[in-house]
Point group: C2
């Protein structure tokens, strides 16, 4: 987290049902529309984790009459299928085995065998770092008239998420990834086309009723007590992002990721061969000792990386490249990993 | 907010999928069970506002086979009815007109005309400060075998919320009221009896699936990224509350509320005659200028009180007595109000 954010975190949380706070939300919505290239759409701020926003988006944008394609290449793709299961929304899952790259043919196989109305993707599948081809996905959606939903929780600020250019209808974000704020706030950006869809769908929830959020957002408010402090941090962050320019930020993340990957190879380790998001590099440990390296990194060097779950706990961990970091930070981490693997 | 809390707010948010953070959650759950007298029950920490927790509780504890009594004496009672409407859960609403006091007879009128399984109440109806008679409600629930759900979002730490003594099956809390933390975290405490109910009800949500939270809570985790920073603040707050003792805290709030109400009368104003929570005093302005006094308080004195909505915007505002405040703070506010009304 950045010092500017921590400074806000240490201040009294103000009362929020007034013009001062409304102006903060209005300024955030304007800023996010710019950063996401969502000129004619709207922004919804939810007090929830990213999964809450994923579920809310599905509940408010689709019904049992829909039929969705879900790109399912890891835990977060799987989560989309679980949400559709619970809400009885029909879907076909395009399953990608670890190591495999998503292709257009895999999606067209499904499209040829049914009538579909939408496509859901975690642009960067956080659990293994695969970055799906947004240009291809966008083209598939356009050609097949599919509503296009992008979970960009990991991809935002690391990879290109341009709603206008790629005709994206909903983008899901959360506060704790590249935005580097405290967790607890998630964001859904809806396109003009999606707003029309939301308008005619009856909400199955009071807490996650997008129509209520959209109505309140007009005057810069939320229907229920929001995560006020994170929202104030978000306003500050957006101002700083706008100053830097979104494509400069993505380039910075790409520079760090590229440098890091080159160095991973130089110290004798590997990363997956499928296309990777700039947000994260999964490092593969051929000796199946990722868990031991992870532990040494914390205990001997104070570095916390992201352990992989389940079957990958010993073979891989992930290193994030987003937030407040530099090439120098990267190099320190690489040297630490290099020292540890020599000793193990 | 207390200086101890703000100090935590200004620190880096740590990684949370590790033992250190699990121990924080385990310590919170233990502490909350003590403070709520919920020895054999469990605690659920949700990343949501209080309304999210109200909806989650109804979704996980009741089904279309239930029939509920809802005490509806203001905006928050009304919210319970809206949630039941959306989820198709049958209920009868005991409507209390502003100024009226809830009586046992009003509830028994409904009970005599149907078969009921549960009762929902906002113990302190936040929108107008009425404190319902928990002893009477508890007795009604016991005699009629009703599951007893208490939204104590406003009442906690101000009025007695003893799950064991009053056989309460679910208590709903949120971080930003008397706990004086940043908003964004809500808490549901479930009794042993309610846990058995939750076990056999199929969740209609992924994000609000209590069974998933209960399973994760065993090892001190949550199914999805939690509001980490607020949780760390909560651990600190609970330790301090345990040191003070829950009944001492309630007495302190009662002392402040009693002093404040005496002074309200002394400066020639009134408050409602129905039983009031210690958490809040609604002040009635006979000249219908509550909105003007509210504005002067902010602009000339820097005091922010809680404006009333809708029909009550001009006749009333509410003064909170919870959180970091003393008799001296109260007196300053009274003197300010007194000066303002003399001039208006």
């Amino acid at each position: 987290m950045y010092p500017e954010t921590l400074k806000i975190g240490g201040k009294q949380v103000p009362y929020f049902r007034n013009d001062e706070f409304s102006n903060i939300i209005l300024s955030i919505n304007k800023g996010l529309k710019k950063l996401l290239f969502n000129k004619n759409g709207e922004i919804i701020l939810l007090t929830s984790s990213g999964t809450g926003a994923m579920e809310a988006t599905i509940m408010n944008c689709f019904t049992k009459e829909d039929n969705l394609i879900i790109i399912n290449g890891g835990s977060f793709g799987h989560r989309f299928t679980q949400i559709c299961d619970v809400h009885g929304i029909p879907y076909e899952s395009v399953n990608i085995i670890f190591g495999e790259t998503l292709t257009r043919e895999m999606i067209e196989d499904k499209l040829n065998n049914g009538k579909f109305t939408g496509l859901l993707v975690n642009l960067d599948e956080t659990s293994n770092g695969q970055l799906y081809d947004i240009k291809m996905l966008s083209d598939v959606c356009k050609k097949n008239n599919l509503v296009f939903v992008v979970d960009a929780i990991s991809a935002f600020l690391a990879d290109e998420v341009n709603m206008d250019k790629y005709s994206i209808d909903a983008v899901i974000l959360s506060s704790q990834k590249a935005l580097s704020l405290a967790p607890g706030l998630s964001i859904v950006a809806l396109s003009e086309k999606m707003l029309k869809r939301v308008e005619v769908i009856d909400s199955e929830s009071i807490y996650f009723d997008f129509k209520d959020y959209l109505k309140n957002a007009e005057r810069g408010q939320t229907p229920f007590t929001p995560a006020v402090r994170v929202i104030i941090e978000l306003e500050d962050m957006i101002k700083r992002l706008e100053k830097k320019g979104i494509y400069n930020i993505i380039k910075h993340t790409n520079d760090i990721a590229s440098y890091f990957r080159k160095r991973v190879n130089e110290i004798g380790l590997e990363y997956p061969s499928y296309p990777l998001s700039n947000a994260v590099t999964p490092i593969i440990f051929p000796k199946n000792n990722a868990d031991l390296v992870y532990k040494r990194l914390i205990e001997d060097y104070g570095f916390v990386v992201n352990p992989s779950g389940g079957n990958f706990a010993k073979s891989m961990f992930r290193v994030s490249h987003v937030g407040n970091q530099s090439i120098e930070d990267c190099e320190e981490l690489i040297l630490a990993i290099s020292e540890i693997i020599k000793k193990l």
